[in-house]
Amino acid sequence: MSTQQAEPESQEAPEDPEMKGAESPAAEQQKGGGMVDEQAEKEAELEGETVHIKVFRYDPEVEGKQEPRFDDFHVPFTKGMTVLDSVMYARDEYDSSLTFRHSCRQAVCGSDAFFVNGKQRLGCKTQISDLEQPVRIEPLPHQEVVKDLVVDMDHFYDQMHAVEPYFQDEDTPETDALEEQRQSPENREKIKMSSRCIWCGACMSSCNIAAGDNEYLGPAAINKAYKFAMDDREGEEIKEHRLRILEQEHGVWRCQTQFSCTEVCPKDIPLTEHIQELKREAVKKNLKFW
């Protein structure tokens, strides 16, 4: 089955009187600040057009796909279309072998981090109208490609598991105690951003250090440890234990503060800041006069 699609790239947008006419008051009201206006404008430009995407293809066991290549798809644009929508359309309408992970479509399952126009992004929360065409969609760099856009996540999971990613308590209350541990709203706020991680792997893929040092824990795992280390409910002794894990050779000290992880995080987690804060904690612990 051919992956090349019939509709030529240069096709003119069909006349659409509704789009060209004055906008209804309801539509006007729909829009708000400048950002949203801009997006609406870009969308209006694309209405009736097709979007040109170039998708990375590879399958180790299928002839013709063993050598990586890019396939072109021209997908009819619809309002609000995301990168994920575009590959889903290409798969369902043109080539059912096009393979990628996806599930929730709302940026919480973390399945669909791709390398889109040279940057790690979540397919489901990236509006295609914001991107320059043709849109290049590739698997996450620095990870082994299983097939098409699917990468092997095992190494990422291993690193996440390496930081003892579970709550630990000095006097572990038994489950039948019907009293919660107290936590101040401020302390809860402190760990809020770190707790938003959806394990998408975008940060790890963007990190130069992780690319060169396979044992580096990486931003996501360190952030996971941050969530527990900064949680007052765990107590000082466990915090020290966590810092010992983090200050090992392939831990926090490897970070060179390039901010690439922070830049690509789809949940806006200040990963670099969290790593630096843990470095400071580790220094404080080791310098007794601090």
């Binding site: 708000g32 059912s96 599930s103 479509r105 097939k147 990613p165 019907l178 107290r182 709203p185 949680d231």
Partner: protein
Amino acid sequence: MYEHDVIVVGAGGAGLRAAIAAHEAGADVAMVTKLHPVRSHTGAAEGGINAALQEGDDWELHAYDTMKGSDYLGDAPAVETLAQDAPEETINLEHWGMPFSREEDGRVSQRPFGGLSYPRTTYAGAETGHHLLHTMYEQVVKRGIQVYDEWYVMNMATTDEPDPNDRECHGVVAYDVQSGKIEGFKANQGVVLATGGPGQAFDHTTNAVSCTGDGHAMAYRAGAPLEDMEFIQFHPTSLPSTGVLISEGVRGEGGILYNSEGERFMFEHGYANNSGELASRDVVARAELTEVDEGRGVEDEYVHLDMRHLGEDRIMDRLENILHLAEDFEGVDGLVEPMPVKPGQHYAMGGIEVDENGQTCVDGLYAAGECACVSVHGGNRLGGNALPELIVFGKRAGRHAAGDDLGEPKIRTGYGDDVEDETETELPVAPGEAGLDTTGGVAADGGVTADPEGILERTVETARERVDRLMDKEDGVQHAEIRAKLQQAMTDYVNVFRTEEGVKKALEIIRECRQEYQDVYVDDPSRTFNTDLQQTIETRNLIDVAESIALGALVRDEFRGAHWRKEHQERKDEEWLKHTLISWDDGEPSIFYRPVILEGQNKTYEPKERSY
């Protein structure tokens, strides 16, 4: 072949809780999931966990609200178990480190939710499910519980005695998505299905792409009846273009619904004079669509949900996630303008028939969470009652499967002397298997033999043959076409407002889908990460589940909870205080009814008019 004491299928909230409980009860437990656990759709739950934690609140009030919300179709023993166990289970999550939102004194916060007589919804921002999912996965990691991630379970290894009550489940057959390898998983003690909802049977849904009703369909074909499938919750506030959910928390915090004329219609048009926006979900969903049908919808499609008056501080503190969702998926800034919302398929109240211990009528087969029907939600689920169900009944199913004695259940399962056969309704087309040969055609599925010794090996063989047939077939119909047709039919005809004619039309289209499925083929020739194959198998499951929903919607000629019928706009307690059960019967489904249990520990829940 792999072998464990307890196999948990699915690793969302219910599955994780079941696995932890089975492990704590001493069993060797393994989880098999088609995703990785943290990808599960529990993570998308926003609102919260209902639990009577505070002084002044009481489990009996929670049970009463739940029973009223269910429109008196919840079974009291299940509803009371939920209300009694939710506080302990919620505190347990806190002890596992779940980052709940907090009050100034450091206690966990609770907020009002629709249909609740007390603000008892515990939450963690507007991302409660995300935190619940990750917290429990952390506990699974801590315990070293084995997880087979990205293994897709295709079939149950169940013996094939004529009466499902005599059958035994000995394991499951799954294939490794990454390599295509098909293997048997032997369960020495039990299999717990925790596969989530069937939302993908509909076109406009808040559910993930992975919510394909796999557990429903596999249990159904193995002999466990599906219960109350006609009761589908349409959430009143989903974004129109994508179906992305906007939490009930917005209305809980004071968000207001307006029609295109700027009227606060919940009050001004008398839909819920006391509770307004916080009426039960089915009430609000019908109100919105009535506004649209009567010409007061915005762009003839949706209504507005306004939270601007709450102020930026409160929104950022409690509903920040909503701002991101509205902006990323609808291009709307919730701080400066109202958000467009319309009802979207959200939740299935019905599911695999189980008792309070999570057990089906098939020995060794359990179900918990959204794929199960205990039933706590009856005709309509209250917001904030899904997450406690996962942890309360996930735990019970896991413990029971591992051999813990939880006492004799009060709820009965399977065909028995307490049921009544459906005899009246005329079906437009015969439901069930479309092929003449249920084991030889491309659509082959179902149990294979009554011999418990070789059952797993034989089921693995059948699964391999089935995959080979799908892969070897050179042309035909592709699953995406069938799936799209099915989803459209369900959203067109088995939605919030249902008519006899419409539901019959849906059954006819479902029949067509079944017939087309006889000719389905998988185009992708690869064994590596073949999502074409996986989705083809899922589509078969969706057809079975969609059919059961439509059948239930046709036979129940009354209006109860989320199920509304144009020709029958009143609740008929004389006739319909009973559950709808659909049994696969080796490809020729039959329908029967079991009375609802309204007798609780201390009182009987007398059906009253449900007004808000």
